[in-house]
C-alpha cells in the first residue's frame, strides 16, 4: 500500500498542528503554512501521519492512496 500526503492549500489556514505531529515530513514556511518535505510516507511514521491527518482542524491534510494499478 502506497500512500502520499497532500495539502489542500485552499482549506489550509496555517494552524500548524500537522507540523507539530509530523515534523519528520512537514515544516512550516515563514507564514505558518506547511511545506511537505516529501509526499511519500515511510512506513515508520505512518501512524503519526494518520494522526496528523486526523488532527488537522480544517481537513486540509490529505492522505491519498497511490498504490499502482
Amino acid at each position: 500500500m502506497n500512500y502520499r500526503l497532500r495539502v489542500n492549500p485552499i482549506a489550509c489556514t496555517g494552524h500548524g498542528v500537522c507540523a507539530e505531529l509530523l515534523p519528520e515530513l512537514i515544516e512550516l514556511d515563514p507564514w505558518g503554512y506547511p511545506i511537505l518535505l516529501s509526499p511519500a510516507v515511510p512506513a515508520g511514521v505512518m501512524d503519526h501521519a494518520k494522526r496528523a491527518v486526523d488532527a488537522c482542524p480544517t481537513l486540509a491534510l490529505l492522505m491519498e492512496d497511490v498504490t499502482g494499478p
Binding site: 489556514t13 498542528v17 507539530e20 505558518g32 488532527a55 482542524p57 480544517t58
Partner: protein
C-alpha cells in the same frame, strides 16, 4: 439495594454527574475556541488543544450518560428515558428538563458529525458544529433552571465561573480574527 434507589445517593449522583458534565463541556468549548483562535506557542503545542478538545468532548458523553442514567433509575421522581432526548416528555419541571434534552441532542449531533468528519466533508461538518454555540448555553440554563442546587453557593459560583470563562474566551476568539488567514 432499594435503599440505594430510594435514598439520597442517586439524587447526589445525578447532581454531581450533571455538574461534572457542565464543567467538562465548558472545558471542551473553551478548547474549541482556543483551537479556532490559533492559541498556542512554544510551551503549549496546538495539537494539545485539538487533542484535548476531542477527548474531553468524548468524556462529556460518558458523564452525561451517567447523569441521564441516575436520573432515570431514581424512583423518587419519575422521569422516563425518553425525556432525555425528547422535550416535554416528562411532567417533572418540563421546561427546564427539556432544555437538557435539547442540549443532549445537539451534543450527539456535534460528536457524531465530528467522528465521521472525513466522510462528511468540511463544509457540512462546520455548519453542524456551529450548534456548539447553542448547546453550551442551553446546558448551562438547564443546570441553573432545574433549580436543585440554586441555593448552594459554591455550585452557583462554579456555574458563574464557567459562564465568565466562556464569555471571555469567545471575546478573545472573535477579537483576534484580525489574524491573517483566519476565517
Amino acid at each position: 439495594m432499594s435503599a440505594l434507589l430510594h435514598g439520597p445517593a442517586l439524587w447526589y449522583a445525578t447532581r454531581a454527574t450533571g455538574l461534572v458534565t457542565l464543567l467538562l463541556l465548558t472545558a471542551s468549548v473553551l478548547l474549541g475556541l482556543l483551537t479556532s483562535g490559533r492559541f498556542g506557542g512554544a510551551s503549549w503545542p496546538r495539537f494539545l488543544t485539538v487533542g484535548l478538545h476531542r477527548n474531553l468532548s468524548l468524556l462529556v458523553l460518558v458523564f452525561l450518560a451517567l447523569h441521564v442514567a441516575t436520573n432515570v433509575i431514581d424512583t423518587f421522581v419519575s422521569i422516563p428515558l425518553t425525556a432525555a432526548f425528547i422535550p416535554f416528555a416528562s411532567s417533572y419541571k418540563p421546561f427546564w428538563l427539556s432544555l437538557g434534552a435539547v442540549a443532549l441532542d445537539l451534543l450527539i449531533a456535534l460528536v457524531a458529525t465530528s467522528l465521521i468528519r472525513n466522510r462528511l466533508g468540511l463544509r457540512a461538518w462546520r455548519r453542524v458544529h456551529w450548534a456548539a454555540y447553542a448547546c453550551w448555553p442551553i446546558a448551562l440554563a438547564h443546570g441553573l433552571g432545574i433549580g436543585t442546587d440554586r441555593k448552594t453557593i459554591w455550585v452557583f459560583a462554579l456555574t458563574l465561573a464557567c459562564a465568565a470563562a466562556v464569555a471571555a474566551t469567545v471575546t478573545w476568539r472573535f477579537v483576534s480574527t484580525a489574524r491573517p488567514g483566519a476565517r
